[in-house]
């Protein structure tokens, strides 16, 4: 597998257990920097579990434990010395359901910024505008920044969540089925956004939609039953998959 981009996230024999139940089996892969990497696979195959391990959101689930090595910039995220708050700031996350805080649009964006230090008003204004522009939402909301974010449409809410994640200036963006609750037009906007954002961020995308993976990603991993079956350039994986399971899945023979 040829790689012209340096590795950002790397897993070696990484497994996850929920209590006694093993959810991920010896995952090994390398996610390149400033590219979009998509994970596909049927429900319950472990792709979301892997995604949530990267910023340790799996810690929220009772009894979840990781084994093996999962590194970001060469540092094991499960190491005791890791400050989880800083790790999560560096690795932004967008969820399947858009979950704006029940606050104003402005406060939604500034929330992450004001967690650690006091930021001046003018700087906040600047970051809010920049983040909303980056999420292609600025023109739609610039006149109602101080209105509640709950009044936005589903697609706008999801872009707000992206803006919120981008505002803290992360290096990686994890997206867990970000478009599954959106209509095709909103989906198109978010996909456009992903393509634009990849110059700045390393994006890891979990999706149920194979066309989406084919459209936006540079690399694709196929998960099945907690195992990584195949990981390759998206074009390669979709046109000439090496494994039979992959071929069966992408041609719609199961899943």
């Amino acid at each position: 597998m040829a790689k012209e981009y340096p590795t950002k996230i790397s897993a070696r024999d990484f497994s996850v257990f929920y209590g006694p139940k093993q959810a991920l089996f010896d995952i090994s892969l390398q996610i390149p920097q400033n590219r979009v990497t998509a994970f596909i696979g049927p429900s319950g195959c472990g792709k979301s579990t892997f995604l949530r391990s990267i910023n340790r959101m799996n810690d929220l689930i009772d009894g979840a434990t990781g084994q093996g090595a999962l590194t970001v910039d060469g540092i094991d995220v499960y190491d005791k010395s890791v400050n989880v708050s800083v790790l999560r700031r560096k690795i932004g996350m967008v969820f399947q359901k858009s979950i704006p805080f029940p606050k104003s649009i402005y406060e939604n964006i500034t929330y992450g910024l004001t967690l650690l230090e006091k930021v001046s008003r003018s700087e906040l204004d600047h970051i809010v505008e920049q983040s909303l522009r980056r999420a292609a939402l600025w023109d739609e909301v610039k006149d109602r920044l101080h209105h509640s974010a709950m009044g936005l449409s589903g697609g706008q809410q999801q872009r707000l969540c992206i803006a919120r994640a981008v505002a803290v200036n992360p290096e990686i963006l994890l997206m867990d089925e970000p478009c599954s609750a959106l209509d095709p037009i909103s989906t198109g906007k978010v996909e456009e956004l992903i393509t634009e954002l990849k110059d700045t961020y390393t994006i890891v995308l979990v999706t149920h939609n194979m066309q989406q993976a084919a459209r936006v990603s540079d690399y694709t991993g196929f998960f099945l039953m907690g195992r990584l079956i195949e990981f390759d350039r998206t074009r390669t994986l979709f046109t000439s998959p090496a494994k039979k399971e992959t071929e069966d899945y992408i041609t719609g023979r199961f899943g």
């Binding site: 910023n55 959101m57 805080f101 929330y111 992450g112 967690l115 509640s148 969540c161 803290v168």
Partner: protein, 360 residues
């Protein structure tokens, strides 16, 4: 022949159940309305009666079957009432003038008696000054909420977000059990233990005072604030917590800056209900506040609340007298205040918060 869609439904048992539920609901509404009506009617007797000095009972005696017990002032004047004022019933220096006024009928209007700073309902010239009662109620309620609301809310935050599951399963029922405690037990506990503790640590002059009463009332307030706040916090979607943590915030920042504001309508309702409880609680107020009507805002002086006044005086009041009417006036005030508190939360606070959070 009717189409099957058009055939009437025949489920007699369901119809019966529906009607009985409707009847039970109506009964409870009617009962509340009747209580309301009764309290207002008795209060009104205070203001519509023309002979203010005379007990209202005079007009009512004919209809009521309690002849011998009726308070009859002329008889009392015939009795050998000592000229010297009994300090036990009043003890205020100005009362020495009562001797001269004895022959004159009481010319004061009800309003003059109510806007007074002495509550001394029994005597030659009864004084129904509401000021000491208002102050007593306000300060004990204030102290109770000042202690009870933060404790209840923080305890709810702790069990909702920080406590390990096993600890939560112990704390939650324990605090909720406190809500079921007979208030006389809490009152007794305050009377004996808390009062001694407060006196020993603060060295206060009066053993039973508004502070002790407020602490006692807060014990009744905490479980209410806790239970409603806990429910409100648990109802906030867990995904909000995940979203906040994913931005790198700590558990505490998440609880304080995201979950608590999201649950704000519930939390405010909890505090208002807590105020209502502290305001209306009778037994603890009678036992632990010292129950003396005083015009003093100090926390360490005795106080008497509206509810405690009704509770301690209604048993001995002359049926239909002015005093009786004034006690019902207190009841009306209690009713009006709690009613407006609830209305305020329902109509104003919640609406505003919903607007803020849902962006409508």
């Amino acid at each position: 022949m009717l189409h099957p869609f058009q055939q009437p439904q025949r489920r007699p048992l369901e119809t019966l159940a529906e009607w009985s539920i409707r009847a039970v609901a109506s009964v409870s509404i009617v009962v509340i309305f009747l209580i309301f009506l009764f309290v207002f009617r008795e209060t009104l007797s205070l203001f519509v009666s023309t002979d203010h000095g005379q007990p209202v009972a005079d007009d009512v005696t004919g209809q009521m079957d309690d002849g011998p017990e009726v308070y009859n002032p002329p008889q009392l004047e015939d009795l050998d009432v000592p000229e010297v004022y009994n300090p036990e019933t009043g003890g205020l220096p100005e009362t020495s003038s009562t001797g001269q006024q004895q022959e004159q009928p009481d010319e004061r209007t009800v309003w003059e008696k109510l806007f007074h700073d002495v509550w001394q309902p029994v005597g030659e010239q009864p004084k129904f000054g509401l000021l000491p009662l208002i102050i007593g109620t306000a300060k004990t309620t204030f102290i109770a909420i000042l202690i009870g609301a933060p404790l209840g809310i923080l305890a709810a935050l702790y069990t909702a977000f920080f406590a390990p599951r096993r600890l939560r399963n112990v704390i939650k029922p324990a605090i909720e059990l406190l809500a079921g405690f007979p208030s006389v037990v809490i009152g007794f506990f305050c009377l004996v233990t808390v009062a001694t503790f407060v006196q020993e640590t603060l060295g206060v002059e009066f053993r039973l005072n508004a502070l002790v009463g407020g602490i006692g009332l807060s014990l009744a307030v905490i479980p209410i604030v806790y239970a409603i706040t806990e429910d409100a916090l648990s109802a906030v979607p867990k995904s909000l917590r995940a979203a906040s943590l994913a931005l790198g915030s700590s558990e505490w920042q998440t609880a304080y800056r995201v979950m608590l504001p999201a649950a704000a309508p519930g939390v405010i309702a909890a505090v208002i209900l807590g105020v209502g409880r502290a305001f209306g609680e009778t037994m603890i107020a009678i036992m632990a506040t010292g129950n003396a009507p005083m015009v003093s805002w100090a926390a360490a002086t005795p106080a008497r609340t509206f509810a405690a006044t009704i509770g301690s005086e209604m048993g001995e009041v002359v049926w239909g007298s002015e005093h009786y009417g004034v006690l019902f006036l207190l009841g009306t005030l209690l009713f009006v205040v709690s009613f407006s508190l609830n209305a305020l939360t329902e109509l104003y606070v919640k609406k505003r918060l919903i607007k803020r959070f849902q962006g409508k």
